[in-house]
C-alpha cells in the first residue's frame, strides 16, 4: 500500500561541460511510494523553481522504459537498485523512509556531461552509422514470407534488438566499454538471413568505430548485462567476438 517517505538526496550538479561540478544536497518530504523516481525529481524541481533556484537538468521522455533517454546513476548503479528496470520505471516503493539517495550522471569519457545529469551519447549513433544496418534500398523488397526464419533465431534476434541504447552498460563497466551495446546490434543481424551478406564487414566496422569513440576494452566482468534494463545477454558479446575473429582471419571481404 501507498506510504510517504522523507528523503535526503545528493545530486551531481554541473553547469556545463567546462564546469568542474559537485554534489548538492536536498531534503524532500512526503514523497508517495506510488511515485516514479522521475516524478520525485519533478517534485524536487518544482520546489527549486518556486524557491528561485535552478532545476536539475536530466534526460527523460517516454517514461515507460523504452525510449532510452533516462540515464541516472543511482546509489552507485545505473538505473538504480532494481533488476531490468529503467530509471523512469523505478518507483519510490523501492526506497525506505529516511534514506539518502546519491544521483550522478553516466560516467564515461565517451559520454561527456552536458549539464547536471545530462550526457552526450551521440557516439552510439555514430557506431550505428558505421555498420548497424542492412544495406537495402527502399521500395522493392521481396515478399516478407519468402524469407523463412526459424522461430528460435527470430526470438534471439529480437532479444538482442530490444536494446534501448540508454548507455547503462557503459556506465556500469569499470572500463566504460560499449561491447554490450555494439554486440546487441551485431547479433541482431548475425542471427537473421538478411544480415549475412554484410556480416563480416559490419562487425569489423562497428568495432573499429567503437574503439575510435574512446570506449574501453571488455574484460568480461559482466556488469553491463547485470545492469542492463533490458537484460541483454552476455552471449551476444561472445557471438560478436567469434564473428570478429572469423572476419579478421578470413581473407575475402574485409
Amino acid at each position: 500500500m501507498e506510504k510517504n517517505l522523507n528523503l535526503n538526496l545528493k545530486v551531481w550538479r554541473q553547469k556545463n561541460a567546462e564546469d568542474k561540478g559537485g554534489f548538492q544536497e536536498y531534503k524532500l518530504k512526503d514523497i508517495s511510494t506510488d511515485m516514479s523516481f522521475l516524478e520525485m525529481f519533478d517534485v524536487l524541481n518544482e520546489k527549486l523553481i518556486v524557491e528561485g533556484g535552478d532545476p536539475i537538468a536530466f534526460d527523460h521522455d517516454c517514461r515507460e522504459g523504452i525510449c532510452g533517454s533516462c540515464s541516472m546513476f543511482i546509489n552507485g548503479r545505473p538505473h538504480g537498485p532494481k533488476q531490468g528496470v529503467t530509471t523512469c520505471q523505478l518507483h519510490m516503493r523501492s526506497f525506505n523512509d529516511g534514506e539518502t539517495i546519491v544521483v550522478e550522471p553516466w560516467r564515461a569519457s565517451a559520454f561527456p556531461v552536458i549539464k547536471d545529469l545530462v550526457v552526450n551519447r551521440s557516439a552510439f549513433d555514430r557506431i550505428i552509422s558505421a555498420g548497424g544496418f542492412v544495406s537495402v534500398n527502399i521500395g522493392n523488397a521481396q515478399d516478407a514470407n519468402s524469407i523463412l526464419i526459424p522461430k528460435v533465431d527470430a526470438d534471439e534476434s529480437f532479444a538482442a534488438a530490444a536494446c534501448i541504447g540508454c548507455g547503462a552498460c557503459v556506465a556500469a563497466c569499470k572500463n566504460a566499454s560499449a561491447m554490450l551495446f555494439v554486440s546487441a546490434k551485431v547479433s541482431q543481424f548475425a542471427l537473421l538471413p538478411q544480415g549475412q551478406p554484410e556480416r563480416k564487414q559490419r562487425v569489423l566496422d562497428m568495432v573499429a568505430h567503437m574503439d575510435e569513440e574512446g570506449f574501453g576494452a571488455c574484460t568480461n566482468t559482466g556488469a553491463c548485462s547485470a545492469e542492463c534494463p533490458k537484460e541483454i545477454s552476455l552471449t551476444h558479446i561472445a557471438r560478436m567476438n567469434r564473428d570478429y575473429l572469423t572476419a579478421e582471419l578470413s581473407t575475402e571481404s574485409k
Binding site: G68, S69, K115, A154
Partner: protein, 667 residues
C-alpha cells in the same frame, strides 16, 4: 467547399488512382536532386523513413529532433503492431477490406483516396521492414505471425512482442543512420524547430533552436516536412512522451497552414489508471491485450464498493456476478470493438457506479480465462493426459508471458500488482490525435513546399483510428508516398537556387522567435510551467474529452482564454535563454498547447454531431451510441488562423463513391 482547399485527388477509379499517379507524376533527374535540399522535422517513423528514402533518392536532407538521438522519437513506444493486408492467415483479408475497415473505423470522416492508397501500400511496408532486419514475431514454420486488433474480424496485425514500434523505428533509424554515415543526411539532434520561414507565400526554411546552447539557427530548404507527431499532450496526462508537442505544427498553422479536425482525439480504452496528483504521464497497455483479456466490472454495485474499499479481491467475485459488458453490448466484435466504443463503454459503467479502484475509475482486464485455455492447449501438445490445475495455469502463464511479457512487467512495475495473478485495472486515457495539419493527396499543406506526414497530418483516420494503423500510416507516408509526391513539387523547383539565410524573411522570422523567448524569460512570475499545463489538461479532459456538450465547451473556451492571460503574466522560467533550459523548452510548448486547446473546443462546439472519438452528448441514439449527421457534417473542418487567435472555418466535403456510408455497428 472553398477554393483554398484543393485536395488534388487524382482522377480515375479508386483502385487505379495511385498506380496511375505513380507512373505519371513528374520526376526530378538525379543531378538536380543533388542540389535540392529537404528539411525534415522529427525523426519518428514518418520522419526517419522519409529521410532514409529521400536521401537514398539523392536529395540533400537535414533532420531535426529535440531528443538526444533520432532513435528516441515517440514512435518507439508503440506497442501492439502494424496492420497490412497480406492475407497471410487466409482469413478473407484484402486491400479493399483494410480500406473498408479503416473508413468505417474512422466513422466515415476520412478521404477515400488517401485511405485506399494507405491500404494498398501496407503490404510493401512489411516487405521493406523484414528486408531491413526487423525481427517480427514468427511461427514455428518460420513464417510471420499475426494477431487481431480492434474494429476488424481478420488477423492482419504484424508484431514484435509488445515492442513493435521500437523494432520498426529502429529499422527506420538504422536506414537513416546509414545515410548519415554516407554523408547524405545531416542530423541535428537536440534541436527544436521554432518557426517556418515563408517567402512570397512559399515555405523556404525554418528557424531552429539548439537546445544545448540556446542558439537560434536558420536553415534553408526547398521543401520542409513536418513529421512531428500528434498533440495529445494538450491534455497534460496522456500516453505521449513528456516532450511530444504541437509546436512545429502550430507555428506552421500560425503562418497560414490550416489545422484540420482538431477535436478528433483518441482516448485509448486500456491504460493504467491515474494513481495520484503527482502523476506525470499515463501508460498504455496495448490493445493487443484485448485478444486474450476479457473486460469486466462487477454486476452488483455492492461488490464494486467492496472492491474500492479493498474489502474483497476481484478473484472473489463469482463468474455469474461479473458483467463482461463489451461482450454483452457488442456480441459480434466483443472485446475487440474499436477504441472509441470501448472507451465510452468503460466510462458509462464507471459513471454508473461500477468502477473498481479507489477512484472509481477503472475496469478489469482479465486474462484468467485464456490463461487456462492456453494451458490446456499446451497440455494437449505435450501429451499430458491428466494435468493438474496448477500445471495448466503455469503452462498458460508461460504462453501469455511470451505474447505480452514486457507489458505485464511494466504493469507490475507501475502498480506493484502482479497481473498474472490478479486482473489488470485499466481506464481510458488520451493516446492519439486524428486531427492535424490539413494536407492534400500529396501530403502538402496549403502552403506550397510545406508537408505534413504521419500523425502530424489529419488525413487517414477520420474521427477514430483503428489499432495498429498509426505505424502503418507513418511508414506509408515516409517510405512509399512522399518519395513520389514530392516530385510533383520539386520538379518545378529545380531552377530555385538555395536562398541565403541572411534574406530578410529569415532575419524577421528569427527576430520574432527571439522576441517571444525574451518575452517568456522576462515574465519572471511565480508559477512553474507545469502548473499551467496541468490546469489546461484538466479543462480539456473534462470538457473536450470522452464526452462533450455545448455548455461545457463554451465554458472551456473562456477558461482557456483566461488561463492564457495568466500564463503570459505569471509563469516563472529560471535560468537564461543561452543555455540548456528545459523549463524554457516546456514553456514554449505549453504556450502553443494553450492556443490549440481553444481551437479544439471551438471545433468540437461547431461539430453538432457525434462521430468516432468526438461524442457530443446532445447527439446520441437511445442506446447511447454516437449519432452522426452526414447531411450537415460530412466534411473535414479546416481552420485558418488570423492574428489574435481568431479562426475561419473552411470545409472540405467528403465524397464516398466506393463505400456505402452507414450507421456504424459492431453489434
Amino acid at each position: 467547399m472553398t477554393s483554398k482547399l484543393d485536395s488534388k485527388i487524382p482522377e480515375g477509379n479508386l483502385e487505379q488512382k495511385w498506380t496511375k499517379y505513380q507512373s505519371s507524376v513528374p520526376l526530378v533527374n538525379p543531378s538536380n536532386k543533388r542540389s535540392l535540399e529537404i528539411l525534415i522535422i522529427g525523426s519518428g517513423l514518418a520522419g526517419a523513413s522519409a529521410a532514409a528514402s529521400l536521401s537514398e533518392l539523392g536529395y540533400k536532407v537535414k533532420v531535426f529532433c529535440f531528443q538526444d538521438s533520432a532513435r528516441r522519437a515517440h514512435s518507439i513506444a508503440a506497442q501492439g503492431g502494424i496492420n497490412a493486408a497480406k492475407n497471410y492467415q487466409n482469413d478473407g483479408d484484402s486491400t479493399y477490406r483494410l480500406f473498408y475497415d479503416t473508413i468505417k473505423g474512422g466513422d466515415y470522416r476520412s478521404r477515400e483516396a488517401n485511405v485506399y492508397r494507405l491500404a494498398s501500400v501496407s503490404s510493401n511496408i512489411i516487405d521493406q521492414c523484414v528486408a531491413s532486419g526487423v525481427p517480427f514475431a514468427r511461427e514455428y514454420g518460420g513464417l510471420l505471425s499475426n494477431r487481431s486488433f480492434g474494429g476488424t474480424q481478420v488477423q492482419r496485425t504484424f508484431y514484435a512482442a509488445g515492442q513493435t514500434g521500437q523494432q520498426l523505428l529502429l529499422g527506420a533509424y538504422s536506414g537513416l543512420q546509414r545515410q548519415v554515415g554516407m554523408g547524405n543526411v545531416k542530423m541535428y539532434a537536440r534541436h527544436e524547430m521554432q518557426d517556418v520561414v515563408n517567402i512570397d507565400g512559399v515555405c523556404r526554411g525554418i528557424i531552429a533552436r539548439d537546445l544545448t546552447t540556446g542558439k537560434l539557427e536558420r536553415h534553408f530548404g526547398h521543401a520542409v516536412l513536418l513529421c512531428t507527431g500528434g498533440y495529445g499532450n494538450v491534455f497534460y496526462l496522456s500516453t505521449n512522451a513528456m516532450g511530444s508537442n504541437v509546436t512545429a505544427a502550430w507555428k506552421a498553422h500560425k503562418k497560414g497552414a490550416m489545422f484540420a479536425n482538431p477535436c478528433f482525439t483518441q482516448i485509448h480504452p486500456t491504460c493504467i489508471p491515474v494513481s495520484g496528483d503527482h502523476q506525470s504521464k499515463l501508460t498504455l497497455m496495448s490493445e493487443s491485450l484485448r485478444n486474450d483479456g476479457r473486460i469486466w466490472v462487477p454486476m452488483k454495485k455492492e461488490d464494486a464498493l467492496a472492491l474500492r474499499e479493498n474489502r474483497i479481491k476481484p478473484n472473489d467475485i463469482k463468474e455469474e456476478d461479473r458483467d463482461y459488458y463489451l461482450e454483452r453490448r457488442y456480441p459480434a466484435f466483443g472485446n475487440l470493438v474499436p477504441r472509441d466504443v470501448a472507451s465510452r463503454a468503460a466510462k458509462e459503467r464507471c459513471d454508473a457506479g461500477f468502477g473498481v479502484n479507489k477512484t472509481g475509475e477503472a475496469v478489469y482486464l482479465d486474462f484468467a480465462f485464456n490463461t487456462i485455455r492456453y494451458g490446456k492447449m499446451e497440455a494437449t501438445k505435450k501429451n499430458m493426459h491428466n494435468p493438474t490445475d496448477l500445471q495448466i495455469v503455469e503452462m498458460g502463464r508461460a504462453v501469455v508471458k511470451e505474447k505480452y511479457g514486457n507489458l505485464f512487467d511494466m504493469y507490475q512495475q507501475i502498480t506493484g500488482v502482479n497481473p498474472y495473478e490478479q486482473p489488470m485495472m485499466i481506464y481510458p486515457a488520451v493516446h492519439y490525435t486524428m486531427g492535424g495539419l490539413w494536407v492534400d493527396y500529396n501530403l502538402m499543406t496549403n502552403i506550397p513546399g510545406l508537408y505534413a506526414l504521419g500523425e502530424a497530418n489529419f488525413s487517414d483516420h477520420g474521427a477514430n483510428r483503428l489499432g495498429a494503423s498509426a505505424l502503418m500510416q507513418g511508414l506509408a507516408d515516409g517510405y512509399f508516398v512522399i518519395p513520389y509526391t514530392i516530385g510533383a513539387y520539386l520538379s518545378k523547383e529545380i531552377m530555385t537556387k538555395a536562398i541565403p539565410t541572411d534574406h530578410p524573411a529569415f532575419e524577421e522570422a528569427e527576430n520574432i522567435v527571439k522576441a517571444t523567448i525574451d518575452e517568456l524569460m522576462a515574465i519572471k512570475g511565480t508559477k512553474p510551467v507545469d502548473h499551467f499545463h496541468k490546469r489546461l489538461g484538466l479543462i480539456i479532459w473534462n470538457q473536450c474529452g470522452m464526452a462533450r456538450n455545448a455548455e461545457g465547451l463554451k465554458k472551456a473556451i473562456s477558461d482557456v482564454q483566461q488561463l492564457r492571460a495568466e500564463f503570459w503574466s505569471s509563469v516563472r522560467i529560471p535560468g537564461s535563454a543561452n543555455e540548456m533550459n528545459s523549463e524554457l523548452e516546456k514553456a514554449g510548448r505549453v504556450a502553443d498547447f494553450i492556443e490549440l486547446g481553444e481551437l479544439m473546443c471551438i471545433d468540437a462546439l461547431s461539430r453538432e454531431e457525434s462521430c468516432g472519438g468526438h461524442f457530443r452528448e446532445e447527439h446520441q441514439t437511445e442506446e447511447g451510441e454516437a449519432l452522426r449527421n452526414d447531411v450537415d457534417y460530412k466534411y473535414v473542418a479546416a481552420w485558418e488562423y488570423f492574428a489574435g487567435n481568431n479562426w475561419e472555418l473552411h470545409k472540405e466535403e467528403l465524397i464516398y463513391e466506393n463505400i456505402k456510408i452507414a450507421q456504424r455497428s459492431y453489434k
